[in-house]
């Protein structure tokens, strides 16, 4: 019980809610890194995924690469890049983008592929150009799965930003890493609770977005993401 009450004490201590290492500032940092990572990864992965899904080209390459990246240990990539590029935000950002690409890519191509080929052929026979087929048929119909890919990526990045605190940056992971360094378990546990709450809240937001994208279709996440 004492562990739990000490954690609650840490979470409700007003000194932990102000300043540069206060919870609101750390939370904003965490969200900021997550948003930046997803934005960069999405610009790379989503157009590529849509193209793979639409043309069917390089599909097996994409599947192999996303599978291989899953085996790559997050912490290994983070520490490797941090030593290589030096302390700062660049190294963690690159590592986070690399990890966010597979779910985004898989969501984009799986979303396009999930559209009934007969619907696509019908659009083509009505004189739609390939660009129109992509933007007016495949993306709207596959949107729920594409958003599902974004949802997986966001959750993975939120979790990894916490791990990335080990190589320097801020965010809620600071409490986990700094608490561990001085054996302050309530701080580690309090920070962990915040990370969990943030992940669950973001998941709920994206579940709602996905339901909105699916409208009357059942929500689905891409296989294996």
């Amino acid at each position: 019980m004492s562990v739990i009450s000490e954690t609650v004490d840490w979470l409700t201590d007003s000194t932990n809610w102000s300043g540069d290492d206060g919870i609101p500032h750390r939370l904003l940092e965490h969200l900021g890194y997550t948003a930046e990572t997803i934005a960069i990864a999405a610009v790379i992965a989503i157009p590529l995924g849509l193209w793979i899904g639409h043309t069917g080209r390089f599909r097996s390459v994409a599947v192999a690469v996303t599978g291989a990246l899953r085996a790559l240990p997050t912490l290994g990539l983070l520490t490797l890049l941090a030593l290589y590029l030096g302390i700062g935000l660049t190294a963690p950002l690159i590592a986070l983008v690399v990890l966010a690409i597979p779910p985004l890519l898989a969501g984009a191509y799986a979303g396009v592929e999930a559209v009934d080929p007969q619907t696509v052929d019908a659009a083509r026979s009505m004189g739609f150009t390939e660009w129109q087929i992509l933007t007016r048929v495949e993306i709207p119909l596959g949107l729920a799965i594409i958003v599902g890919g974004v949802r997986s990526a966001v959750l993975q990045v939120v979790a990894t930003v916490a791990v990335a605190a080990f190589v320097g940056p801020g965010g809620l992971g600071r409490y986990l890493i700094d608490g561990q360094a001085v054996s302050d378990y309530p701080q580690m546990a309090g920070g962990s609770v915040l990370v969990v709450v943030l992940a669950l809240a973001l998941d709920a937001v994206f579940a709602a977005l996905q339901a909105f994208a699916a409208k009357d279709r059942p929500a689905a996440r891409p296989v294996g993401v």
Binding site: I4, P73, A159, A189, V193
Partner: protein
Amino acid sequence: MTWLFDNIDYVRELFVRHAWISVVSTLIGFVVSLPIGWFAHRHPRIRGISVALVGILYTIPSLAVFILLPGILGTGILSVVNVIVALSTYAAAVMVRSTVDAFGSVSPAVLDAATSAGFSTRQRVFRVELPLAGPVLLAGLRVVSVSTVSMLSVASLIGVANLGSLFTDGFRRDFLDEIVVGIVAIVVLAIALDALLVLAGRLLMPWSRVQVGASR
């Protein structure tokens, strides 16, 4: 490279430790997910709830779980039990979904045929449903095995020794070689376990390869 040869015993020890923790966690997760997935497959109402629940479980960041579990279980933070419980839970969370899909992939006509041939429920489950669900189960198990090996390395941040310790130690000592050895060792372990799973699948389900070949 000289670092690897000088420390080969240490790396081997971490490799073996990483391997057994990953294998035990994956197997526990698999065994736990089978009855849950089978039950959820049979009862559509429970299916929705259980798939949603395991989805939420999987949403929770691993480092937070590695830290919070000792407080909940009452074990020491350095205890390997926490890590195994956490990794098994993640493995089960992913496998329940695969198990539901796997049992769903078995043709109802085949089950009816088994029933009419006089199979009892238990015989049908173990001699018809489970083997036919095998290929989809194996696919799920391969995903879980790889992500478990990778996820375990995060536990090194709280001081539980595994191949991830090469990352934390290498970073603290500003020593790139040690980190590279860690990454290569983890990828090698993930590939080796995946190969073992594929091999086990071929031995246990010799028909699946023929089927895949025929359907292409």
